[in-house]
């Protein structure tokens, strides 16, 4: 097997991976970034709404208010040390991107344009704040292109169209790199590194209705899980309130930020009933659940009463085309309506994974060990959507994810620099180091099989959608676990028809499905175990939040067992925000 040696291997070239890479390459380290797609086609490119930071360009603001909103938004499950760190660093990382050349939209006075987003308040729960910085409706695209250009200048080494298969570890569990599949050649490559950083993004494709691109298959989570690392808080998935009915394509919250609102089958502006103060700009979980209740109770729209409508025509043609330019094309193409004249049919759609690989706020991956619940795995880091640091807790606020990518991309890079200084060399890789990865590749060479990957894929998505969606209940979840177990067994019996080497998409999809399966199991098992409702996890049979028993993080192991660890309620320097009832 071909082998390459670097100081750091970064898996994933989205906003998180490229932010970290830039820092490390600039510091003079030899950095490899692996990506299964061309870097600027990473999912970060889809982020339209913007990045949240308390710049105070439109309304007076303060990072502590941002912190309060984030803690409250997380339904108090977020770790307050990590949240403090993120909100405090917000303005700095945004100005840094401005300096790198990210073309932000501008206010008349020349400052960075900011728009109001759901869950943002002034003065600890007071009036709406205006905190999300935007580059028109293409913030993610602008961020990714800026970071890519900078990385090229900094001589980051990109391995494009390389699919990471599994981590390579020594006998003590230290991570020493990764085995990847060179998709063009169809051959494995061993990338040896003193530090390995997972930045593989989300896994929204476990659900049938998802706003996520097809590449969001949770590969990093699968790799971590197979390396014996539990997955944290996987029951918490954000359902975006406004995915286009049928297609999943997202209608940005920016639409509601600019004055759009939701109506039910009776033409009622129902959010006034659920969140009298914030209305359509309440937290996403609140709005998604409100829509689900309206539909569930027969107040949906259309002949099947299976969606609600997002109305924006009153905003005015010029304003829509100017402030929300992409929205019209999406509505025309996927909903077949012109939003300048008619409302858009929408449903809650799986959007963001709050859980992930457990990390501390400087990016180190941590696992329970004899010494405590959070012992660092030497040489392994995770950032971005694949990580659970946990700043989003039970529910993420819009615009906080792009912020998370930059803040923890930088923080992890800084910690890696220290780690590399303390570990100038790494022990040689054992002969059996790459075995886990090679066995996975060999498995799909098998020609005999009674099942098709595409069928299992579709069925898994259907099971997750109907058994682990917006509304959850014990019997339904339990039945889902049984069905998912059957699907997993079918995957064991599956084979692919195509055994060619070059760009064998069938093989890639099979490998991706194995990862999705790990994620789906962790999700549904964690959801069945948590008998309370908190943030995005809504149990029909346990409708209340239960701080006495459940103010703790879930850790789902690959073998099916579940552990818990405490929430970090103590911030770094400011007083804690104690749990309160969450109203908007």
């Amino acid at each position: 097997m071909e082998k390459r040696k670097f100081d750091v291997a970064i898996i994933g070239a989205g906003g998180a991976g490229m932010r970290a890479a830039l820092q490390l390459s600039t510091a003079g380290y030899k950095v490899a970034v692996l990506s299964k797609v061309f870097p600027t086609r990473s999912h970060t490119v889809a982020a339209q709404g913007g990045i949240t930071a308390a710049l105070g360009n439109v309304t007076e603001d303060n990072w502590l208010w941002h912190m309060y909103d984030t803690v409250k938004g997380s339904d108090y499950l977020g770790d307050q040390d990590a949240i403090e760190y993120m909100c405090r660093m917000g303005p700095q990382v945004v100005y840094e991107m401005e300096h790198f050349g990210l073309p932000f939209s501008r206010l008349e006075n020349g400052k960075i344009y900011q728009r109001p987003f759901g869950g943002q308040s002034r003065n600890f729960g007071g009036d709406q704040a205006t905190r999300t910085c935007a580059a028109a409706d293409r913030t993610g695209h602008a961020m990714l292109h800026t970071l890519y250009q900078r990385n090229i200048q900094a001589k980051t080494h990109f391995f494009v169209e390389f699919l990471a298969i599994d981590l390579v570890r020594d006998a003590e569990g230290r991570v020493q790199g990764v085995v990847a599949l060179d998709m063009e050649k169809g051959e494995p490559l061993l990338v040896e590194a003193r530090a390995t950083l997972l930045a593989t993004g989300g896994a929204g494709r476990i659900f049938q209705a998802s706003t996520n691109a097809f590449i969001n298959t949770g590969d990093g989570l699968g790799m971590a899980s197979r390396a014996g690392i539990p997955l944290e808080d996987m029951e918490f998935w954000q359902f975006h309130p406004t995915g286009v009915m049928g297609a999943g394509v997202l209608i940005s919250e920016g639409v509601r930020g600019e004055g759009g609102y939701l109506v039910n089958g009776a033409g009622e502006r129902f959010m006034e009933r659920y969140a009298p103060h914030a209305r359509d700009l309440a937290g996403r979980d609140v709005v998604a659940r409100a829509i689900a209740i309206e539909i569930h109770e027969g107040r949906g729209c259309g002949p099947r009463k299976d969606h609600v409508l997002l109305k924006l025509d009153h905003i005015g043609k010029d304003e829509i085309l100017d402030k929300l330019p992409g929205i019209r094309e999406i509505a025309l193409k996927f909903a077949h309506v012109d939003p300048l004249e008619a409302p858009i049919p929408v449903v809650p759609t799986a959007h963001y994974m709050m859980g992930g690989i457990p990390t501390r706020y400087r990016g180190q991956v941590v696992v329970p060990a004899r010494t405590g619940p959070e012992e660092a795995v030497p040489g392994l880091y995770a950032i971005g959507e694949c990580a659970c640091v946990s700043v989003h807790g039970a529910n993420r606020l819009g615009g906080n994810s792009l912020l998370d990518l930059l803040v923890f991309g930088q923080a992890a890079a800084e910690h890696i620099v220290e780690f590399l200084k303390e570990n100038p060399t790494s022990p040689p890789i054992r002969k059996e180091g790459p075995d886990l990865a090679l066995a996975r590749l060999a498995r799909w060479e098998r020609r005999e099989g009674s099942e098709r990957v595409a069928d299992v894929y579709r069925d898994m998505q259907g099971i997750m959608q109907s058994h682990c969606g917006v509304f959850r209940r014990a019997e339904v979840l339990k039945e889902g676990i049984v069905k998912l177990e059957e699907a997993r067994q079918r995957l064991d019996r599956a084979a692919i028809g195509d055994h060619s080497k070059v760009f064998n998409t069938a093989r890639v999809e099979a490998l991706e499905l194995e990862n999705l399966m790990e994620v789906a199991f962790a999700t549904i098992r964690s959801a069945a175990a948590r008998t309370e409702s908190r943030g995005a996890h809504a149990r029909d049979d346990y409708p209340e939040r239960d701080d006495k028993n459940w103010l703790k993080h879930t850790l789902a192991h690959g073998d099916g067992t579940i552990d818990y660890k405490p929430v970090r309620l103590k911030p770094l320097s400011v007083p804690s925000f104690p749990p309160k009832t969450r109203t908007y």
């Binding site: 086609r41 695209h141 097809f214 590449i215 394509v249 997202l250 025309l332 998409t505």
Partner: protein, 73 residues
């Protein structure tokens, strides 16, 4: 040949859907020139490709016929 399948995997779900539909219908019938033109289209950044498909961007002349097929999906 599967390179065109894989490179049709994008960062934007909008493109995933439109391109997958296009390939499902036309992949086996594309001429060599059309495959070349299609691979060329895939080189555009996601946002630009989406603009081109929705009629806002400025594609090359050689890409127009192919775009018509993609837009029909």
């Amino acid at each position: 040949m599967s390179a065109i399948r894989w490179r049709s995997r994008r960062g934007m779900l909008e493109l995933d859907i439109v391109l997958a539909k296009f390939l499902d219908r036309h992949e086996t019938r594309l001429s060599e020139d059309e495959v070349k033109a299609y691979l060329g289209l895939l080189e555009y950044p996601d946002a630009e490709l989406w603009d081109i498909i929705t009629g806002k961007g400025e594609p090359e002349e050689a890409e127009e016929a192919l775009l018509e097929l993609i837009r029909m999906n």
